[in-house]
Structure formats: structure tokens, C-alpha cells
């Protein structure tokens, strides 16, 4: 069942009634291998917790990984951003562009419910796959476990070693198996182009790394939980051009397997790296809103909206 020859098609036999364990979801050839680190339980004990819901990743490439429908985010009296209706295609890089203060980061953080503790109220619908992120019976922790996030300034956990940093997400989610943790860490670090640099100092503090390396560590940390979507909030803004270039290459490579949403105020970066672009601007009431969205080539070459044209040709923002 696993060895599909067709590229880009993943079959995840997961629905509300399906068993949750990998060992039960894969074919017999894989079962022995995965038995190494899955803790098998009796069928009776593998009952779904009522509070959890299966989060099924998209089945086909091209089907959106995340959809936003008429999303509006308010802080107290102040509306930060509104009229956001957007579909983020799976395994592509979508850049959220626009000048600062137009709500790009606000929208990004709404996707993984980071506004829960900052007092922002999110209206409208956000779906991850076919799950309503803000439904009353959706657990925010589980949503966030399917989404990886990289912040503007690198923020590795200062009191943890490099290895502990990378495995932190796995450990938070209850994974204790050492072999699995090590395997996941190495894979994530390789994907972040960091393995060769840190493989001999996994137990050192993360703070000795340079800024660009720290940011790649944060990317590795987010990758380790095998998310479906990666949210990146201006990941290169605190970095020098060399480090920026490395991370842009990373993004391009990662996009083959993970959906990436990238907030950037740098139009050139968006042009270099993204497949699609969503333009955010301030409307007349100085409230951010989504003006236009489409393939990056179109947005930059032949935008439909007049405001987009102004922004892209540098008249605004």
C-alpha cells in the first residue's frame, strides 16, 4: 500500500473510524519495521478520545491544504485584518506580501490559533484540510501539532541542547522512544541543511550557533513533528544575505513535501521563492485586507487589481 509509484499521491487511510496507529495502517511489509517504535495496544484500548478529531491531510496534490473563508481578526475594539478569503494549495509556497501593518502576520498566526492567548478574536472559518480549526470541539494543541511555525527572530529554547531543541516538539506530543527521536532529529536536521554542522555537538547549547544556523535549527525543530503545513513569519528578516539565501533554498526544497505559507515584506524574496502570492494592503479605514491572490507570476506581471499594481510597481508600500 505504501509503495505507490505515482508521485505526489499519498494515501492516508485515516478517518474517524480508522485505527490510529501506524502499525495498523500500513501493509504487512511495513508493520514489522514500524513495530520497532510504535507501542502496540490492544484494539480495545485504541478508542478515539471523544475530544480528538482525525485530521486528514489532503489526498490529492492541488487540493488546498488550508482554506480561509471571510476571516476577520479583531483585538478588542481594533480590527486588524478582514475580508480574507484564501485557499493555500498543498505542497506549494504561498507568500503573503504587503507592507508592514497590513495583517499578514496576524492572518498567519490565526491559522495555528496563536491568537488564543493574545486576546485576538478570529471570525470566519479556517480549515486545515477538512477540519475547522476554530470549531468548539477542535483541540488547539492537536491543530498546532500538524502545523510547524518559524518566527521572525530565531528562538531556539535557550536552556536546551541542540538535540533537545529539535526533538522538543516530538517530546511535547508524548513521543519517548529514543530511537524514533534520534531518527526524526537527524532527518529534520538534514532537511534543514544543518546535520553536518551540528552532528558532533548535538548536546551543546543551541545559543552558540550563528543567527542563520539558529533559524535553521528552528526550521528543523518545526519539521521534526512532520507537519503538513509550515508557517514562516519573515524568517529571514533578522539574518544576513548569505543566511537568507540558504534559507530560501531550503524553502524551495521543502516545498516539495510540505505546504509553506511565507510572510514576507520583501517582494523579491516572494518572487524568488513562492508559487503563489497573496497581497495584503490597508483599505481606506486603515484596516488590513486581502486585495488579490494568484500565481506569483501573474501577481507581479499582470495583476488584476489596481492597488496591487501600484504596490508591485513600487508606488505604494
Amino acid at each position: 500500500m505504501r509503495e505507490q509509484a505515482e508521485p505526489g499521491v499519498k494515501v492516508f487511510p485515516m478517518s474517524e473510524d480508522a485505527p490510529m496507529l501506524a502499525s495498523e495502517a500500513v501493509g504487512p511489509a511495513q508493520q514489522e519495521a514500524s513495530g520497532r517504535y510504535s507501542s502496540t495496544r490492544t484494539p480495545a484500548s485504541v478508542a478515539l478520545e471523544a475530544a480528538g478529531r482525525a485530521l486528514a491531510p489532503p489526498e490529492r496534490a492541488g487540493e488546498p491544504a488550508v482554506t480561509l473563508d471571510n476571516v476577520k481578526v479583531t483585538f478588542g475594539e481594533h480590527v486588524a485584518v478582514r475580508n480574507v478569503t484564501l485557499a493555500l494549495p498543498a505542497r506549494q509556497v504561498t507568500a503573503l506580501v504587503g507592507p508592514s501593518g497590513c495583517g499578514k502576520t496576524t492572518v498567519l498566526r490565526a491559522i495555528n490559533r496563536l491568537h488564543d492567548h493574545t486576546g485576538g478574536r478570529v471570525e470566519g472559518t479556517i480549515r486545515l484540510g477538512d477540519v475547522d480549526v476554530y470549531a468548539p470541539d477542535t483541540d488547539p494543541e492537536l491543530v498546532r501539532a500538524r502545523i510547524g511555525m518559524v518566527f521572525q527572530r530565531p528562538n531556539p529554547f535557550p536552556t536546551m541542547s541542540i538535540l533537545d531543541n529539535v526533538t522538543s516538539g516530538l517530546r511535547f506530543n508524548g513521543i519517548r522512544n529514543r530511537a524514533l527521536l534520534r531518527e526524526a532529529a537527524e532527518s529534520a536536521l538534514r532537511h534543514a541543511a544543518l546535520w553536518d554542522i551540528v552532528k558532533d555537538r548535538l548536546h551543546q547549547t543551541a545559543l552558540r550557533l550563528s543567527g542563520g544556523q539558529q533559524q535553521r535549527l528552528c526550521i528543523a525543530r518545526a519539521l521534526a513533528i512532520e507537519p503538513d503545513v509550515m508557517l514562516m513569519d519573515e524568517p529571514c528578516s533578522a539574518l544576513d544575505p548569505v543566511a537568507t539565501e540558504k534559507i530560501e533554498n531550503l524553502i524551495t526544497n521543502l516545498a516539495r513535501e510540505v505546504t509553506i505559507v511565507l510572510v514576507t515584506h520583501n517582494m523579491f524574496q516572494a518572487a524568488r521563492v513562492s508559487d503563489n502570492a497573496a497581497v495584503f494592503l490597508l483599505d481606506e479605514d486603515r484596516v488590513g485586507e486581502l486585495v488579490e491572490v494568484g500565481p506569483t507570476v501573474e501577481i507581479f506581471d499582470s495583476p488584476r487589481d489596481e492597488r496591487t499594481k501600484q504596490y508591485v510597481t513600487g508606488h505604494v508600500g
Binding site: 505504501r2 508521485p7 505526489g8 499519498k10 492516508f12 485515516m14 490510529m20 496507529l21 501506524a22 495502517a25 500500513v26 511495513q30 519495521a33 514500524s34 517504535y37 510504535s38 478515539l48 478520545e49 475530544a51 480528538g52 485530521l55 496534490a61 492541488g62 494549495p89 498543498a90 505542497r91 506549494q92 509556497v93 483541540d139 494543541e141 492537536l142 501539532a145 500538524r146 516530538l170 506530543n173 508524548g174 513521543i175 524514533l180 531518527e183 526524526a184 532527518s187 538534514r190 513533528i225 512532520e226 524551495t252 516545498a255 516539495r256 513535501e257 518572487a271 521563492v273 513562492s274 508559487d275 500565481p295 506569483t296 507570476v297
Partner: protein, 304 residues
């Protein structure tokens, strides 16, 4: 990657393919583990939450109990005559603590006269000089704040009581001054430092010479902070007993001493005196702290 079709299978490299397979294996395991452990993780959090609320309740209890019992037992003895009459010998009913109130006022007043100017000048010294001496003095002040008050009392005894062969309010005032001095120095310097930064620019921009600007301007601007810091130091000094143990001539000259000597006696009348005196002391200290905090709060509010 503009315009490329999404997701081509990257390559034939076996390693990459193995890695992809491994990750595909891991993903559902991770998600399952997240889901499975969520209940346990949340329950742990709720348990700790309960413990923390309990801890906070226990933490608040002593203050509540202290204020409550001191008020309950002390109010009974509070009267105008209590405040204005001198103490009478043991066993005879009546009398008050006027000598103690006056004595405490004298002692603390003397201590302030000694400590406030020195503290201010020393703080100015620290504020305007850099260098090792200033750092050493700062370190010394921090250490002195941690010296037990009883040790300071013994110091005052050795310096002012023994050589002169008699106890005195002066010695007591000296002990309190030594106690309050380091607190005042640090608080004063802190108040100045916060103000100085902005006023430097204003002063220097107007062409004033640095040394002139420092003194008057910084002092003027730091006034609220200075008041706060000194008030807090005073409230600490008023409540001290140990330094007075070795320096006052008689317990009836200081409120804290009176509480100690009367409170430890098995007679209800004396204990009542102790409670009422304690209530007066507590009220005074709380009001003083409250004023200091109010001034500090207004100061930070104006700053916004």
C-alpha cells in the same frame, strides 16, 4: 520555483526515498501520540493549576491572619489615653505608651537626619563617578542590606554604648541609620539613573555643562523616586527591634521594644498593650508603604 508544477517526485536516490518512507511512517505515529497523550497532558496541567491556586491561597493567608488578629486584639486597648499617657508600673491598670511613641519618633527622626543626607550624597557619588571605587561601594551597599539587624545593633552597642557607658536614643538612632543607609543609597541611585538618561539629552542639547545639569536637574526629576525609596527605608527602620535591644535606655522609649518586653510577659494587661502597640505600628508601616507605592505608581503612570 515560480510556475513549476507542484510536487514531482524528487529523485531516484535511494536514501532520499528511504527518508521519505521513514517520515511517512513517523507522521501517523506522531499524530496518534499527540492525540493519545493530550488527555493526560491536560489533566496534569489542571492538577498543577489546582496546586498553584492552593499555594496562592496559603501564601495570602499569613498577611490576612496577621492583619486580622492584630486588629482584633489590638483595637480593644486603643484609646486616646493610651496614646497620650505615659506607662505605669506593672500591675497598676491604665497608662499608655506616650513615651514610646515620642521615643520612636525621636529615634527615627534622628536616624533620618543622619541617613538621608549621607544616602543622597553617596548616591550622587555613585551616579556621577564610574570606576572601581563606585562599583565597590555599590557592592558594599548590597552586602550591607543583607547584614542582620541584630549584628548592626551590636555594632552600635560597641561604638556608642559601651565607650560612653550608657544607653541612649542617639545610639539607637545610629543603629537605625546604619540599617537604612544602604537601602536609601541603592534606591536613590536607581531613581537618579532612571531619570538621568532623558534629561541628559535635554540639558546637553541646550548647551549646559554636564556637571551643572547633573545635580539640580536630576535631583528635581528624581524626586518622586527618591521619596519612594526613602519612605520604604523608613518603614523598614520603624519596624526594627533588634538594633534597639542593645541601644535604648529602656523599653518604654521605643514602640518595638515595648511590644517585645510586654508581649513576652504572661500577664494579659501587658499583652494587651503589646497588641495595641503592634496595631499602631502595623498601621503606620502599612500606610507608609502604601504612600510610597502610590507615589511610585503615579511616577510610572506619568512616564507613559
Amino acid at each position: 520555483m515560480i510556475g513549476a508544477a507542484p510536487s514531482q517526485w524528487p529523485g531516484e536516490e535511494a536514501a532520499t526515498r528511504r527518508d521519505w518512507q521513514a517520515r511517512e511512517r513517523r507522521r501517523p505515529i506522531i499524530q496518534a501520540s499527540a492525540r493519545r497523550s493530550l488527555g493526560r497532558r491536560r489533566r496534569a496541567g489542571r492538577f498543577v493549576q489546582v496546586l498553584c491556586v492552593l499555594a496562592a491561597a496559603i501564601g495570602l493567608a499569613p498577611l490576612v491572619a496577621l492583619v486580622y488578629y492584630t486588629a482584633e486584639r489590638g483595637l480593644g486597648g486603643l484609646s486616646w489615653s493610651f496614646l497620650t499617657q505615659a506607662p505605669v508600673p506593672e500591675g497598676i491598670p491604665g497608662g499608655g505608651i506616650s513615651t514610646a511613641i515620642v521615643g520612636t519618633g525621636e529615634i527615627v527622626g534622628l536616624a533620618l537626619v543622619m541617613a538621608v543626607p549621607v544616602g543622597l550624597m553617596a548616591a550622587l557619588f555613585l551616579h556621577e563617578r564610574r570606576g572601581r571605587l563606585a562599583t565597590a561601594i555599590r557592592f558594599g551597599a548590597d552586602l550591607l542590606t543583607g547584614v542582620p539587624s541584630i549584628v548592626i545593633g551590636i555594632f552600635a552597642y560597641a561604638l556608642l554604648v559601651r565607650p560612653l557607658h550608657h544607653f541612649s536614643n542617639l545610639a539607637a538612632a545610629f543603629a537605625l541609620a546604619v540599617l537604612m543607609l544602604p537601602i536609601m543609597i541603592r534606591a536613590d541611585e536607581e531613581a537618579m539613573r532612571t531619570v538621568a538618561v532623558d534629561l541628559w539629552e535635554a540639558g546637553v542639547a541646550l548647551g549646559a555643562r554636564r556637571s551643572r545639569v547633573a545635580r539640580s536637574v536630576v535631583l528635581r526629576g528624581a524626586l518622586p523616586g527618591l521619596v519612594t525609596g526613602n519612605l520604604l527605608a523608613v518603614s523598614r527602620g520603624v519596624g526594627e527591634t533588634a538594633p534597639l535591644l542593645f541601644t535604648v535606655a529602656a523599653p518604654s522609649f521605643a514602640m518595638t521594644m515595648l511590644i517585645y518586653t510586654d508581649g513576652t510577659q504572661p500577664f494579659p494587661a501587658e499583652q494587651q498593650t503589646a497588641w495595641t502597640t503592634a496595631l499602631l505600628l502595623l498601621l503606620f508601616v502599612l500606610v507608609l508603604s502604601g504612600i510610597a507605592r502610590l507615589v511610585a505608581w503615579r511616577l510610572t503612570r506619568r512616564a507613559r
